[in-house]
Structure formats: structure tokens, C-alpha cells
């Protein structure tokens, strides 16, 4: 019977338009994901990691196999619930077919239909690699198995799981709404599953917690190098296979339960029918009305709105979506408070942000779902003929529905806001500010959602049914949010309903409100226009055609509605014109594609000038008049320039901070004339920010000249926000002052360069290149400079610039200060102004130094100021002791809004509120917590030595000397402050995982650390790991001695600047031969170690008063090719193993303490793959751990530990 039923089921699905639409969409997505950069499905390919490589394909198919959440529920309603929807239940259920055959046939039909749609996506992916426009450099060998394997184990298994789940919901509840609600709930739960699991979960938990298998793949392939990612199928043994098995069995169990409990026949409890007969004596004679009938638009709209709103908010779907939003919020706050290593304090902004973020996904689902429910309600409940035959106007129906949906949206937002407020109160968050909650939740998000709601109803009006409408709305919203910005046609005027608020800061509130307001007017008018069009072409009556609607069958526009439409057109076009003028006429908005084209054109036009010889800045005098009230500034000043090139300079490019001509009041280069729009300039590049001057006569070697400037920072405009804020301005000098030469604007991405017809970017100069070493990493245009600044701002703000404050005064009612460093500084300035509270202290050094230290902060953000002051003193003490004296007279930290970073200028450190000021430092004894305020302070202060004293040359490896050494210094200071175990965890989380994961996903080739070219995972992460290793091998004292040697040689001097060759030489000099090989492995090549052992490899014998451990373990050392990433054992390259390996013994599981609390650590020399050691121990150990302090760079350390329960 089953076999005879199945063809009917398949035919049923294949006859559905929805099936072909879903299959078509997935096929197209797959095709374009494989052939373009516009669509990224979980994993992007490139030249190194191929787009048709095994792992990228598996990840993409994993993404496809997750999408049936969106459409399998529809198939289930069609396939499983059709008896209910078609009212054929009593006929079909009364037939002799068994329940098993009936349900199994339907379920298999749904499963095959779902899988067929997934397969369409897979076919699209496979076909995409053959598209003519596919970048062939991104393709590896074609291998169908890479597609079949995940199609089966991800696509099919996940289709089965979803089919089973939705079938069970459908069978047991017989409610279409419950099926859809279940799908939405599953989607939201799945996307938030990471929050439930937490970052400390074991690999097993992580793998099994994801029913779709993607986390299992991630766990297995986390550190796979590129060549493995390209060629290796995800193995079925291990976590992935286990995941697939568990969840496939789970789907079978769900189905078995469903078959067991499936209620056949008419559901009980449905026949609560009231019975009454007509009144035979009653008269239907009409009652006179006191008031004539009227259109009553407002009354009808209000009645409709009330009805629709109440129907929506009383529905199960609403309750579930709202509950999910609240649950997500609670979970976010809980995880943030309990598990985040550096949690944010529950301030109003943070709570409101969390509340608003939690609402986003449920809200999108809500708009999709309820736009369909509300728009199609009359048809759904078959009351359409009653309603549509009444005199009620289309406008009233439309307004009622639109306001109802808006009410639902606002109810969710308002609830979220209240939940945020309640959470802040419950958590004891500081300074409850209801206005902040309102602004962040209702103002920042409300208009977007309301506009999307209007758009959703508009779309529903032109679709043939509710399901197609929901799919269309979802497609449009997802497209607008994720795909539109990637397309070449993107412009902010197309970004429906996305209102730019410029972010929120507790210091400065909402950001760019000018653009926000005009965009709100633009999209608001657009929404009204959509409403008028909807009213005009309202879907009235039974299946009206578009033509019939055009003919006015649904109704005609009344004069008022038409007038509103005209106003909406005026508003839309007017606001659009203002926005367009702002973005594209007064400024030059460029989307991603246009930016790439512009940069490519700029490089072709001006690229040659990047290396033009230029004089260096020697002296800077600047006067900054900042007006936070109007968000403007006027900057006057002069540079003294000196030609240190050894040759005459005839032309010089000056780059200005603004492209606007009227931002330049005066710009004069002594001895030179400005050349405007020279023939070599591309017209597109002829903006005002690039100015070319010609010296006459040429500037002779050793000669000096002066650049004088008077520049204006214009007020914020649409498309060009001002860097000056009302409160909390932090601007880099280059945003206010001229730059000598061009900034390096070139496209960095290899794939994009190739796409734009640009030659591969030349690598950074080699470390031996003495010419390159004449320039430092701050730029080619200066060495150290003398600096004087006069800085005025609003009277209630404090102006801060680098250097010692030599004068504080009032001028024209404005607060002014003059700054002058005690010695030359890098040509790298910050100007900061805000309404600050200040806390001061003094660091007294061991050699009589007395450095005033200050923290300037937003008054309500005093939480961590003492910690920061303490960290400043600890840092100054530690670094002075380790590396030498602090060079400046003052040290100050200034809070600034919006961003998530801190930056170190000479004695002056702008520090964003989010990265330290409003972080909860947590319990110092809890090793899982990171005191970010302290750590970032220590890091930035370390830059005063590494960056400002030791200034790297512009060669390969440059940033290791800055960020790398800074990480070393900060980690050391942090370890001193909080202990070894805390530092161990910090380096594990921050550095080791970061390095291993990023090297696996980096699209560029990985160079050895000494040759790093700005990769953060090398400069920060690997450097920190390497110096962690060096401190635990050659010792911190010898490492620091090497750095002192380096500072003595190069610190606070001009060119030639140092390179990592100097660093490695200094380390070698201090380390001696014992650690020479390790230094080579760390800096000069990409080395990975592999260690493993099992409990059987350890023999414990009792001897005397203690125990003897005989340990055998496997050891190998691999060297990765810089070109291919392929790893080869050094033994195969004819090199001997000669490694120090530490072995730790423990009484408690070292995995819980990250190797701390050891009984004993013994270092043994390993010279063969089969390592052996005999170690005396005072007590019997329970665990043994290889390389317990993670000195060796090793990917998989899970097999480094053995539990010795039965080893004796």
C-alpha cells in the first residue's frame, strides 16, 4: 500500500508552485554563491581555500540543509495536514488504509520533496563552478564526491530530522499555526544555541548540540590547514558521524512517537455547537437609524485595527515569538554575566542594546508571519465575502491592518524595552535612564520595523496567497538586510527601511541624527505611498486580477487618499532628492563595488606617486579650534619639512582630510605652486583631498620648507558625518590636518586585485633592505617630530592633545589648553574633547621619576577608573624595570564613545567606553574572567615602549616589534597582577585559539612570524604565544634583557629602524644555543608540533617514598610550506628531532585548570618520534599531560592527556 500511495504524494508536491519556487531559489543561490562573491553561504572560498574544495562545499551544503526550516513546514502542511485544510479528513480517515501507511507515505513524500529542494541547491553549487565568470584561481579540481557526501549526510539527514519534527507537530496538534510557529521557534532556538552551550563546552557537547551537524564539522575541522580543507571529506568517524547518527535516530524516535500517538479521525472536543431555532414570531422589519450610514473610515479602521491587533496578540504565535525574544534576552544577559570573560556592566545602554538585539530575529519572523496572517485573515477564515461586500473603504481596511501590524510590532518593542529596564533594576545596574532605553529600543529600531511592516503588507497585497506572500516578504527582508549591500547597484536610497542612527553611546547618545531624520522622512513617505497604492489596488473580492484592480474593481481613490498619495510622492522624491544630493552630489557615496573600482582606478592613476620621494615632517605647530556645539573645527598650523632623501624633490602630493573644496581656507607650501587637475589625473579622482605641488626650484637635499594650512572641518552632512561629536570627540590628526604624501589606499585583497585587473601587490620590503629601514611604520613622511598644539573647545569640555599641558586658559569664552611634549614624538596625534570627570594620581618610579597619571572619563562611568589608575602604575613600574625608563612627562587615558578599541599616542591614550570603562572586571580569583580595563591599559601603555620608543622599520615583520612585543609586555604585567593561571587562560583564549583558527581560514599564505606583513593573528596572537613560550623556556629575564638590548640600540632614535632580524638576534644572544632551534621554529618558519599519549603509555611504580613514572609518547615536528600550507615532518626533510618537551603530572584533572596546579613538571629532550622519559614523583599522580604549559605550537592537544586510574 505504501508503495502505491507514495507516487501520489510525490505528484502532490511536484504539482505545487511553492516546491518549484523553493527549488529554483536554492538552485540560484547555490549557483551564484559558487560563481560570485555576492552570496556567501557560511564559507567563502578564495585563491587559497578553494570554493569547490571539500570543506567549503560541505559548509555551504550544511547551510542549505538548514534552510528547510523555512519551507519544510509548508510542505508538511501541504502533505500531512491537507485533510484538515481541504476538509477531507472524514473521507480519508474513514478509508481502510492503515495509519502507518497513510502517514508514512505522506511523510516520505514530504521528506523527498524537502530533500529534492536541498538537492536543487547542491546542483546549483556544483554548476556554479563552471560559470564563465567564476574566478578560475578560486577553483580546485572538480570532485563530485565533495558534493554527494555532504548532500547525503547533511542534506538528507537534516531533511529527515526536520520532516520528522514538523510531521510530529502537525500530527499531534493538527494545527497549521503550531507547525509554522514550531518552525520559527526552531529557527530562533537554533541560531541562539551557541548561547546555551557556552564557550567552555566540551567538543562532544558542542558537536551534539547542533542538530544540523555544522558545529560538529567546525569542531573537527577547526584547525585544518588549507590543503586539507580543499581535499579532505569530513570524516564520518568521530564527532560528525556521531552527530549524524544521534540526530538521525532522534528523528526516527520522534516519528515512532508520532505514529504511536497520531490521532486518527475527527479530533474530539470540536463539537461544542450551540443549538437554537429561529424565532417564528420575530419581525425583520428594519429599525430606523438615527444617523445615516456613512463611510466611517476612521471608525471602520479603528474597529478593524482593534480586531486585528487583539487577534494577533492573543495568538499562540505571538506568545511564542515574544517569549522567545524575552528568553533570548534573558539568555544573553545571563551568558554575558556568567560566562563572558569580559562582561559588560548592566548600564542602561547595554541592557537596552541587549533587549533590542534579542528582538531583531523574532521581530523579522513576526513581520513575515503576521503580515500574512493579518492581510489574509478574511480569506483564511472564509469571511472575505462578508467583509468585502460591505461599503467599508479600502483605506479603512488598509489602515486597520497596517496599524494593527504596527501595534503588534510596537508592543513587542515596548515589552522588550520594559524587560530591559526590569533586567537593569534586577541586576542592580547603575544609573537607570529610561530615555536611553526608549531611544535605543523604540527610536533606533521602531521606524525600521514599522517601515518593514508596511512593506510586508504591500507585498502581501500583490501575492496570490498567504504562503507565497510570506516567502516573498522573507525574501525581500533577507535580501535587503544581507544581499543588497553586496550588490553593485547598492545605494543607501535603496536600503528599504534601514535608518542609520550612527550607533549609540552613553557619552554622546545617538549618532548621526541628520541622516536619520531625512532617511526617516524618505522611507516614511515611501511607506505612505505604498499604503496609497495598496488602497488603490487593494485585493478586494474573490481572486481579483491585477488588471481588474487597475480598472478600479476594488475601489477608487478618494480625493483625500489621492491627496495623501501626492504628498507622499512629494515627500518621497523630496527627501530622496535631499539624500541623493547629500550622498552622491555633495559627497561621493561608493558602494563596495564602486569603492573597489575607484580604488583600482586610483591606483592606476596615482599608484606611482605612492613611492614618490617626499620631505619629512620635522616640526608641527597646530592650533585646533573645535566646536562640539556645531560639530565643526578650524585647524591652522604649519609643518617644517626637510628633504632627507639625498636627491632634489620637484613635486609633492599633499592629502587633505576633506574632499570638499570649501574646507580649505589656505594651503601654502613655501617654494612650491599647486597644480590643479593635471592631465595625469583621472577625472574621477579629481577630488579636493589630493593636492599636487611643484617646487620651483626643486627642493634640494637637506633643504627645508614650510607647509602652512588653514582648514575647516565642515558640519555633519548627509553622506559625510563629522568626526567632531557633541561630547566625546577623538580624532586622529590625519582627520584634521594635512598629510605629506598619499596614504596607501591600494586594494589589499588578492582576489579583488585580480578581479580589478591589478597586479599582485608587492610584498613589504625584506628586512635586509636598508632603504626601507629609513622609514618607520607610522608612515614614510616623518621620523620623530617636535610638536606644539593649542587646542580650544566648548567651555564645558576639556581639550586634550599629546604632550605636557603647558597652559590652561579661557579664550573667547572657550576652554583652551596648550600642549608641548618634553621630547620629540611620533608624527601621530590625537585630539580629544569631552565633558570629563578626571581622576589623578602620580606614579613615583624607583629612580625618582614622578609621572602624573590621569583618567578622563564620562562621569557616570567611574566603575573601573581606579583599576585603570592602578594598572597604569603597575605598567609603568613593570615596564620601567623590564625595558627602561618611560620617556614622557605625563600619562593619561581619555574615554571616548562608540568604538571598541584603544590607541596609544605619545603619553596619551584614547580608550573607548566599551572596551574598558563599562566592563565588569569580575572576581580577580576567577581565572575565567578577563579584566579588560586592566589588560587594555597595560597593552596600550606597553606601546609607549614598543611603538613609540622602539619604532619598527617599514619591512616584513614590522608589527611584531610593536603589537607582538606589546602583547608580551602586557601579558607579563597581567600575569604579575593576576597570577599564572589567569594569564595562562588569557593566552589560551586570546592568542592560541586565535592563531590556530585564523591561520586555517586566512585566504592569504601564512608567512613565518618574523616575516609577518600585518596579519593580526600573527602580530598579536602568534607573537603572544611565542613570547609565552620564550618566557617559559629561556626565562622572562633573558627575554626582557634582549628587548632592553634592542631598545638601547634603536629606542628613541631615527633611521635606520629595527626589524625582526634585530629582535631575533637579540633573543639569540640572550638565549644561547639551548633555545636557538626553538627561536628558529618560532620566528623563521611555520612549525607545528604533534604530541600524544595514552594511559597505556604510562607505567607507575612505587619506589622508596615516592613513585616512578615511565612515560612513552609520540612526538613529531612539522614544518608548513609558506606557499601551499602543506605540512611535512622534519624527519622527512632529513632534519633530526631535538626538542625539549615538558611533561606534567597532576592529582586533579589538568583540563579543568588549563594545566595549572601540577605536582611536577619535568622537561625532557626528545630525539625520536617515540619519546621516553622516567620521572621520579613524590606522590602517585592521577593524570599526565604533555606540554602542560603549551610552549609548543600544537593544534590538537586533546590527546596530550592521559588519566592514570589503572596505570599502577
Amino acid at each position: 500500500m505504501l508503495a502505491r500511495l507514495l507516487p501520489f504524494e510525490l505528484k502532490l508536491h511536484f504539482n505545487q508552485v511553492g516546491f518549484w519556487v523553493a527549488a529554483g531559489i536554492l538552485a540560484l543561490i547555490g549557483y551564484f554563491a559558487a560563481s560570485t562573491d555576492s552570496i556567501v553561504l557560511g564559507a567563502a572560498g578564495g585563491e587559497k581555500i578553494k570554493i569547490n574544495g571539500a570543506l567549503v562545499v560541505a559548509t555551504q551544503i550544511g547551510f542549505f540543509s538548514f534552510l528547510p526550516i523555512l519551507f519544510a513546514s509548508v510542505f508538511v502542511v501541504t502533505g500531512i495536514m491537507r485533510d484538515e485544510t481541504a476538509k477531507s479528513l472524514e473521507i480519508v480517515h474513514a478509508t481502510p488504509v492503515s495509519t502507518f501507511d497513510m502517514i508514512a507515505a505522506r511523510m516520505i513524500g514530504v521528506l523527498l520533496a524537502t530533500f529534492a529542494v536541498v538537492l536543487a541547491g547542491v546542483i546549483g553549487l556544483f554548476a556554479g563552478q563552471f560559470a564563465t565568470w567564476t574566478d578560475k584561481e578560486k577553483l580546485g579540481p572538480v570532485n563530485p564526491l565533495f558534493y554527494l557526501h555532504p548532500a547525503l549526510f547533511l542534506g538528507f539527514v537534516n531533511s529527515a530530522l526536520l520532516t520528522a519534527l514538523f510531521t510530529a507537530i502537525a500530527g499531534l496538534t493538527r494545527s497549521r499555526m503550531m507547525v509554522y510557529t514550531g518552525a520559527i521557534g526552531l529557527l530562533i532556538l537554533y541560531l541562539s544555541v551557541g548561547l546555551f552551550v557556552g564557550e567552555d563546552a566540551s567538543d562532544l557537547v558542542l558537536s551534539l548540540s547542533d542538530p544540523f551537524g555544522l558545529s560538529a564539522i567546525q569542531v573537527i575541522t577547526e584547525f585544518w590547514p588549507a590543503f586539507e580543507q580543499n581535499s579532505r571529506l569530513v570524516p564520518l568517524v568521530g564527532y560528525f558521524g556521531l552527530n549524524r547518527l544521534v540526530w538521525f535516530i532522534a528523528s526516527l524516535v520522534v516519528l515512532a512517537a508520532m505514529f504511536r500517538f497520531f490521532p486518527r479521525g475527527v479530533a474530539s472536543g470540536r463539537s461544542r455547537r450551540a443549538v437554537a431555532v429561529a424565532n417564528p414570531n420575530a419581525s425583520l422589519a428594519p429599525r430606523r437609524l438615527s444617523k445615516p450610514l456613512s463611510e466611517g473610515i476612521l471608525a471602520a479602521a479603528w474597529s478593524r485595527c482593534q480586531f486585528e491587533y487583539l487577534a494577533a496578540v492573543r495568538s499562540v504565535a505571538f506568545a511564542i515569538l515574544l517569549s522567545l525574544a524575552i528568553a533570548l534576552f534573558a539568555l544573553t544577559v545571563y551568558v554575558q554575566a556568567e560566562f563572558a570573560p569580559e562582561p559588560l556592566l548592566p548600564t542602561s545602554a547595554q541592557m537596552a542594546t541587549a533587549a533590542a538585539a534579542s528582538v531583531l530575529l523574532p521581530m523579522l519572523c513576526l513581520i513575515v508571519f503576521f503580515s500574512g496572517e493579518i492581510f489574509w485573515r478574511e480569506k483564511t477564515y472564509k469571511i472575505l465575502e462578508l467583509v468585502d461586500s460591505t461599503r467599508v473603504s479600502n483605506v479603512a481596511l488598509l489602515i486597520g491592518k497596517w496599524f494593527a501590524l504596527s501595534g503588534v510590532i510596537l508592543s513587542v518593542l515596548f515589552t522588550a524595552m520594559l524587560v530591559g529596564v526590569a533586567a537593569q533594576v534586577i541586576l542592580g545596574g547603575p544609573d537607570l535612564n529610561l530615555w536611553t532605553h526608549f531611544q535605543l529600543v523604540m527610536v533606533s529600531y521602531g521606524p525600521d520595523f514599522l517601515i518593514w511592516g508596511g512593506l510586508a503588507l504591500f507585498i502581501q497585497n500583490f501575492t496570490p496567497n498567504r504562503i507565497v506572500g510570506m516567502v516573498a516578504v522573507a525574501a525581500v527582508l533577507v535580501g535587503v538586510m544581507f544581499f543588497l549591500p553586496q550588490t553593485p547597484v547598492y545605494h543607501p536610497l535603496l536600503n528599504v527601511g534601514r535608518l542609520p542612527t550612527g550607533g549609540y553611546s552613553e557619552m554622546n547618545g545617538l549618532g548621526d541624527m541628520l541622516t536619520f531624520q531625512w532617511t526617516l522622512a524618505y522611507w516614511g513617505a515611501f511607506t505612505v505611498l505604498l499604503a496609497v497604492i495598496s488602497a488603490w489596488l487593494w485585493r478586494r473580492g474573490l481572486n481579483p486580477t491585477f488588471i481588474s484592480r487597475l480598472r478600479g474593481q476594488g475601489g477608487r481613490l478618494g480625493p483625500v487618499t489621492a491627496g495623501v498619495g501626492v504628498l507622499a510622492v512629494c515627500g518621497f522624491t523630496g527627501a530622496g532628492a535631499v539624500l541623493y544630493k547629500g550622498y552622491s552630489i555633495d559627497n561621493t557615496f561608493r558602494n563596495q563595488d564602486q569603492t573597489e573600482r575607484y580604488l583600482a582606478a586610483a591606483e592606476k592613476s596615482l599608484g606611482d606617486r605612492l613611492d614618490d620621494p617626499a620631505p619629512k615632517v620635522r616640526d608641527v605647530r597646530v592650533s585646533v579650534d573645535m566646536f562640539p556645539e556645531t560639530r565643526t573645527a578650524r585647524v591652522t598650523g604649519r609643518y617644517r619639512l626637510e628633504n632627507s632623501t639625498g636627491a632634489a624633490i620637484s613635486e609633492l602630493v599633499i592629502t587633505l582630510p576633506s574632499e570638499k573644496r570649501d574646507s580649505v581656507k589656505a594651503l601654502q607650501l613655501d617654494g612650491a605652486t599647486e597644480i590643479r587637475r593635471g592631465p595625469q589625473k583621472d577625472p574621477e579622482l579629481g577630488d579636493e583631498s589630493v593636492r599636487l605641488f611643484r617646487f620651483s626650484p626643486a627642493l634640494a637635499p637637506g633643504a627645508s620648507t614650510q607647509l602652512s594650512f588653514d582648514l575647516v572641518t565642515p558640519p555633519p552632512q548627509i553622506g559625510d558625518d563629522s568626526p567632531i561629536l557633541r561630547n566625546g570627540t577623538f580624532v586622529n590628526g590625519e582627520l584634521l590636518m594635512p598629510r605629506i604624501g598619499l596614504a596607501d589606499f591600494r586594494l589589499r585583497d588578492k582576489d579583488k586585485r585580480r578581479k580589478r585587473g591589478l597586479a599582485e601587490l608587492e610584498r613589504l620590503p625584506e628586512r635586509e633592505d636598508m632603504a626601507a629601514r629609513q622609514f618607520n611604520f607610522f608612515g614614510r613622511n616623518s621620523d620623530y617630530v617636535t610638536f606644539q598644539a593649542s587646542f580650544c573647545t566648548a567651555p564645558d569640555q576639556i581639550p586634550i592633545a599629546p604632550g605636557r599641558m603647558v597652559r590652561s586658559y579661557e579664550k573667547d569664552g572657550r576652554a583652551c589648553r596648550d600642549y608641548q611634549p618634553v621630547e620629540p614624538i611620533a608624527n601621530f596625534f590625537a585630539f580629544v574633547s569631552a565633558r570629563y570627570a578626571v581622576k589623578r594620581d602620580v606614579w613615583n618610579g624607583p629612580n625618582g621619576e614622578r609621572v602624573p597619571i590621569e583618567v578622563f572619563f564620562h562621569a557616570p562611568h567611574a566603575f573601573n577608573v581606579d583599576l585603570m589608575l592602578d594598572a597604569m602604575k603597575k605598567s609603568l613600574a613593570a615596564y620601567t624595570r623590564a625595558f627602561g625608563p618611560y620617556q614622557y612627562s605625563d600619562l593619561r587615558i581619555m574615554e571616548f564613545p562608540y568604538a571598541n578599541f584603544a590607541q596609544s599616542f605619545a603619553g596619551t591614550i584614547p580608550f573607548s567606553e566599551n572596551i574598558g570603562f563599562i566592563r565588569d572586571p569580575g572576581d580577580p580569583k576567577d581565572i575565567k574572567r578577563i579584566d579588560l580595563a586592566t589588560y587594555v591599559t597595560m597593552h596600550e601603555i606597553a606601546h609607549q615602549w614598543f611603538g613609540h620608543q622602539l619604532v619598527p622599520g617599514e619591512t616584513k615583520g614590522f608589527n611584531v616589534l610593536s603589537e607582538g612585543l606589546t602583547e608580551h609586555a602586557a601579558m607579563s604585567a597581567y600575569e604579575t597582577a593576576y597570577g599564572w593561571a589567569t594569564a595562562r587562560r588569557l593566552v589560551e583564549r586570546r592568542s592560541m585559539e586565535g592563531y590556530l583558527m585564523s591561520r586555517a581560514t586566512d585566504s592569504e599564505d601564512e608567512p613565518p612570524l618574523g616575516l609577518a606583513e600585518g596579519q593580526q593573528y600573527l602580530d598579536y596572537n602568534k607573537s603572544a604565544w611565542v613570547f609565552w613560550g620564550l618566557r617559559h623556556t629561556m626565562g622572562a629575564d633573558r627575554v626582557n634583557a634582549a628587548l632592553r638590548r634592542l631598545l638601547n640600540q634603536y629606542g628613541r632614535k631615527g633611521p635606520p629602524y629595527p626589524t625582526t632580524l634585530d629582535l631575533v638576534a637579540a633573543l639569540r644572544a640572550e638565549a644561547g644555543p639551548e633555545w636557538a632551534q626553538l627561536i628558529t621554529d618560532y620566528f623563521d618558519r611555520i612549525t607545528l608540533w604533534e604530541l600524544s599519549l595514552t594511559a597505556d603509555d604510562v607505567t607507575l611504580t612505587q619506589s622508596g617514598g615516592g613513585w616512578t613514572a615511565d612515560v612513552r609518547f609520540a612526538a613529531d615536528k612539522l614544518v608548513a610550506s609558506q606557499e601551499t600550507g602543506e605540512e611535512t615532518s622534519v624527519l622527512k626533510q632529513g632534519e633530526a628531532l631535538n626538542e625539549w618537551v615538558e611533561i606534567g603530572f597532576y592529582e586533579k584533572d589538568p583540563r579543568e585548570t588549563l594545566g595549572a596546579e601540577w605536582m611536577r613538571i619535568e622537561r625532557v629532550r626528545v630525539t625520536a618520534k617515540d619519546g621516553r622519559a622516567r620521572i621520579q614523583l613524590p606522590r602517585k599522580p592521577a593524570y599526565v599531560l604533555l606540554d602542560p604549559r603549551r610552549i609548543l605550537i600544537e593544534r590538537n592537544v586533546k590527546d596530550n592527556v592521559a588519566e592514570l586510574g589503572n596505570a599502577a
Partner: protein, 289 residues
């Protein structure tokens, strides 16, 4: 008052309406026809829920195809099959529909609803969910909602389908009572509905109006031309090949066959006591020219 001219409507190859023309005045008008005859299409078109391919409908001189609101302002409509919102009482739903119909004064609404609920005997169930009403109650609710706003045109499409005889009779009585000063169009396939209450009627078949007139007039057209005889079942079946058979009624021991013929078909045939059903079939089958 309501004029329908050459109304045509097709759904693909199916011609639901073929140049239908009718003129209607106040009173109860019966539209009789088998399922699929096009009655509901015509009713929906008059209720402005569908657009015809061709033709014209004017109400009080206004072409309602161009200005559907002219009809909607005067219309009460009870469709063949209608649903209700779940968990909504009769009172609440009637109130909502009254507002949609333009009864904006709260007191008027209340008075009308109370009166109509009383008339259809649903007062005691006014707060019960309409979704839980029996078929008869729901139909009476349908009448009540159709009469909200005191419409000048009331269209009821197959209203008695599914009602028991008592409910049906009461329902028809209600309709009769409403038809004093308005156009009431009763669309049905049940001959007795029309016979019992309509003074004017039309018979519709295959999308066309095949007869129009008072029920008695339609009967008069076939008077003396309908004959009945009891015979063997097989003979009755065979007769369909040679005579204009109106109906065959199965009885114990044979069938009673009614035929349409200008003269007696022969021995044993008796002149029939005519009922409207005979006129209906005679016109529907186009035996009457």
C-alpha cells in the same frame, strides 16, 4: 432598479455566465438552477466580489462595475458558504460588521444588532462564539449580518443548504419578511425554496437565464404538456431515448415517469398535477421554447 445586461464571465474554458440579462425590482426574487449553473458567479458579481468579462450592471442608474461602492452601500450579502473568526461572539462580530457597513452611531448599532439577534432568535447566544453555532444558527447569523445597515438589496446564495426542514422554513419566513421594500435575491438549487416564497423567479442553466417569470406563470407555460405514468424501471430508462423525460421517480414496483409532450404520449399516460419542479425541468432542459 437593478439591471443586468449581457453579463458574461469565463473561467478558462468554462463559461460561467453567458450574456445574462435581468431586471429586478423590490421583492423576493428566486434564482433557481442546478449546481454549476452560474448562480454563485452571478451573485458574487452583483455583490462586487468578482468582475465580469463583459456586460453591465446598474443599480439605481449607476454602473456598479465601474463604481462598486454604489452597490456596496446598498448591499446585504449572505454567501453560499462563509466562515467566522474563531473565538468571536455574535455580538462582537455583528458590531464589527455593522461598523464596516457604515453604522457608525453606537446606539444605532446596538439597537440594530439587538433587534436582529432577537429576530433570528440568537439573543440568548449572542455572547457565544459564532464558530460554535450549528448550521441553522450560523445561517440565521448570516441573515442578521446581511441585514445590518438596512440594505436595499439583499443577496442570499444557497442559504438553506444543510438546514433541517424546520430551520429551512423559518429561514424562508425570515426572508419573506424582509422583502417588503427591498430587492431580495434568493439563489438556490432547491425548487421548494422558490416555490414557497418567491413571487418572481428565473431559472438558470449552463450560465444562461432560460426562463423568467412568476412561478405560476412558468407552470402555466407547461400546463397540459406534462404527462405521468408508472412503468417498469427498464422501460422508464428506455423511454429517455425517445421522449422528453422531465423526471423519474422510483417507487415500489417501478418508476413514475414524467414527460413533456404537447399531446398524450399514449395509453396509460395521465395529465400531471403540475408543480414548479415540472416547470423547472421543462425550462432547464429547454423543452419549452
Amino acid at each position: 432598479m437593478l439591471h443586468i445586461r449581457n453579463l458574461s464571465k469565463s473561467f478558462g474554458a468554462n463559461h460561467a455566465l453567458k450574456s445574462v440579462s435581468l431586471d429586478l425590482k423590490p421583492g423576493l426574487f428566486g434564482l433557481l438552477g442546478p449546481n454549476g449553473a452560474g448562480k454563485s458567479t452571478l451573485m458574487r458579481t452583483l455583490a462586487t466580489l468578482q468582475t465580469p468579462d463583459e456586460g453591465e450592471v446598474t443599480f439605481k442608474g449607476v454602473n456598479i462595475l465601474k463604481d462598486p461602492n454604489a452597490m456596496r452601500r446598498a448591499l446585504g450579502y449572505l454567501p453560499q458558504d462563509f466562515g467566522v473568526y474563531p473565538r468571536m461572539s455574535a455580538l462582537a462580530l455583528l458590531d464589527h460588521l455593522a461598523i464596516l457597513k457604515g453604522v457608525t452611531a453606537r446606539a444605532d448599532r446596538r439597537a440594530q444588532i439587538d433587534h436582529l439577534l432577537e429576530a433570528v432568535n440568537l439573543t440568548s447566544h449572542r455572547t457565544a462564539s459564532v464558530a460554535n453555532y450549528s448550521g441553522g444558527m450560523r445561517q440565521r447569523f448570516g441573515v442578521a449580518q446581511a441585514l445590518l445597515g438596512d440594505p436595499q438589496v439583499l443577496i442570499v446564495d444557497e442559504p438553506t443548504a444543510g438546514l433541517d426542514p424546520y430551520e429551512r422554513q423559518r429561514f424562508l419566513d425570515l426572508l419573506s419578511a424582509t422583502a417588503q421594500d427591498r430587492i431580495v435575491i434568493l439563489s438556490t438549487h432547491i425548487v421548494e425554496d422558490v416555490r414557497d416564497v418567491c413571487a418572481d423567479m428565473a431559472i438558470m442553466g449552463a450560465g444562461e437565464i432560460v426562463a423568467r417569470g412568476a412561478p405560476e406563470a412558468l407552470i402555466d407555460r407547461i400546463r397540459g404538456k406534462v404527462w405521468r405514468r408508472k412503468m417498469e424501471r427498464e422501460a422508464g430508462e428506455a423511454l429517455k431515448q425517445s421522449a422528453q423525460v422531465l423526471s423519474t421517480r422510483l417507487l415500489p414496483g417501478g418508476v413514475v415517469v414524467s414527460v413533456y409532450a404537447p399531446q398524450s404520449p399514449g395509453e396509460g399516460w395521465e395529465p400531471a398535477d403540475l408543480v414548479l419542479e415540472d416547470a423547472y425541468f421543462a425550462h432547464l432542459y429547454r423543452f419549452v421554447q
